[in-house]
Subunit: 365 residues, 2 copies
């Protein structure tokens, strides 16, 4: 049975991507150095980056590269404002506090988008803030924050903007040529549809140049990691060579698919089938649809029928669909992802399965 992961990642990958992992590579051999160069160039190209930004991949999960960016860019003299409407915004603030950095937060409810006007006011009120961090798509709920509007506010205030684009990169528009962003953070195993094990930062070169020996961590130091690549094309420390190869293959496939616009169209079609089907089955989306990104959808547990997450999860799993538990702080929910190597036909099959497993009450059917 083909298993389909409808999760925020690791997710369903193409077979060609996984097959790229069948080769052993020496991490310092010329062929692998060439693969690393292709990886860095393709990551930058996905976001229309030019020579002003550099791509710095890092071993580990997405959180590792988020931490590395905070550790490298937020020095003892800097102050970070974190815009929070979910668990991943909270995590950035926790990382900065743990390093003893100056950090301020501006928070919204989990079902509310970041408000650019409030950000402008907060920046006007606190001239000490040097950097602003925001989650592009909050995986906690699936909410889409306005990248362009907030970036413009941050630029107008003369501060630097750091975006956690973990869930959006590869699908939603991120245009470094048009939008003032100092640092974009994402990972191998979401919209790029690679396998997990790598994060990466696209960082303004001038900002990174100033960040020598700022990070208290040797491993999570994006300046040193970048200098390593620039020096000899090699990774400072052993890279996950198969994960690198899979991500390069996945990036080639992204280009072949038509780039982020084509990928977004597919994810949107997946979401449309999911949203229409779940509505028909009596499941309610947690977010206002106007705030919903076509990445991962949070549904409230239905009140009109006997329902518990664990047996629902297991019944779907038995039929080949892996979904995700909820992460809301205030009410029980579950999540279904729209990303990965899945298409609207997969989502239609899922709707049939959910209709069997958790049908609406007879009166409503």
């Amino acid at each position: 049975m083909r298993r389909i992961l409808l999760t925020p990642g690791p997710l369903t990958t193409r077979e060609a991507t996984r097959r790229a992992m069948l080769t052993d590579w020496g991490s310092r051999e010329p062929d692998f150095i060439a693969l690393t160069a292709e990886l860095r160039a393709r990551l930058l190209a996905v976001a229309h980056g030019d020579a002003r930004h550099v791509a710095v991949p890092l071993q580990g999960s997405g959180t590792f590269v988020v931490e590395a960016a905070v550790a490298t860019l937020i020095g003892p003299d800097a102050k970070l404002l974190v815009l929070i409407n979910g668990a991943y915004g909270q995590r950035i603030a926790a990382i900065a506090r743990r390093y003893g950095r100056k950090v301020e937060t501006l928070a919204w409810a989990e079902d509310q988008a970041v408000d650019p006007q409030a950000v402008a006011e907060a920046l006007a009120a606190d001239p000490a803030v040097t950097h602003v961090a925001m989650i592009h798509v909050e995986t906690t709920t699936g909410l889409l924050n306005s990248l362009t509007a907030v970036a413009q506010v941050v630029q107008a205030a003369g501060r630097r903007f750091i975006i956690d684009a973990m869930a959006s990169f590869g699908a939603l528009p991120i245009d470094l040529a048009a939008t003032p962003i100092a640092c974009v953070l994402a990972s191998s195993n979401k919209g790029l549809e690679g396998t997990p094990g790598l994060g990466f930062a696209l960082i303004e070169r001038t900002l990174l140049e100033q960040a020598q020996a700022v990070s208290p961590s040797l491993s999570l130091d994006l300046h040193a990691q970048w200098r390593g690549f620039e020096a000899n094309g090699q990774w400072r420390f052993t890279p996950p060579v198969q994960v690198v190869a899979a991500l390069v293959e996945a990036l080639r496939q992204l280009e072949a698919e038509g780039g982020p616009p084509a990928r977004l169209a597919r994810y949107q079609a997946n979401f449309d089938v999911l949203f229409a089907g779940m509505s028909r089955l009596g499941f309610h989306l947690y977010l206002d649809p106007a705030l919903q990104a076509p990445i991962i959808a949070t549904f409230r547990l239905p009140g009109d029928r006997p329902f518990a997450f664990e047996p629902f999860y297991q019944a779907l799993s038995d039929r080949g669909f892996i979904i995700y538990p909820g992460k809301l702080t205030r009410e029980p929910s579950f999540r279904i992802g729209c990303i990965g190597a899945v298409d609207p036909d997969d989502m239609r099959r899922l709707m049939d399965v959910i209709g069997e497993v958790a049908p609406p009450p007879a009166s409503a059917a």
Copy 2:
């Protein structure tokens, strides 16, 4: 052409190990939780660990888990003595200094083993030292330090012993039941013959219990990582699921091969062919053979014939053998690994190839 990596890792893996990466796994699904539990149990078993130690895998390269161990175990009140006879010992000291921890070093030349008597004297002279760190096999040269003798000295002085067993784990004897070791650190892609992307620590439970919120890093916090596994069997942050699956497969194969003793016998046989063959071809081992581990061998560049590393490397690579540059601080050298899914027949073929590519002068042939 089958390519053979004779490097310190990433190295040559078995096809079954790489094929274990062809599956997509949801990181929070029960099957993957079971795989993680098997991973942790098998890692502990390789070192004869019992309930006194726990296995804590961590995303990233080996250096990431070394840093995590220093960050987690060496608090502001602790003092670390690092025993250094190569680049990896230096790296541990650099990590501790960067975190602002108290650190002392005791150093030997790169061709000299750590001297247990000198360690005993250093500990007697500095009662503030709480932990001692040593590299088991220094990949810089391939030198084997005496685990048992140094562990006993450290225990006798009432301090805690941390071993970087990156190059030795899975092959050389490491017996937590017999040897007093507080923490063993290693990675997926060396003697265990998995693919790169994971490190792990085997840590004394009582030591780890005391280490809550000690690490300045959120990602590199082995206490929190351990609590995550204990809470629900899941990884705190996205694991490299395919690398985990490959490592579990590799651990099953290690057991099938006969465990570390059988693996060591194969590596020793590889080394014996290499050493005898290279000697016959006029290449000289850098280390005294008595100090040499059968893991990776450092050879001096020959002075009796025209020789440069780059063309030598390329000629071997063209014939399917990937070797490794030297890392000595004081003289030019190159390295050839004996580890990974290679056997003495592979090493014999390598000897034939080196005999063709860099033959000894006619007078000596």
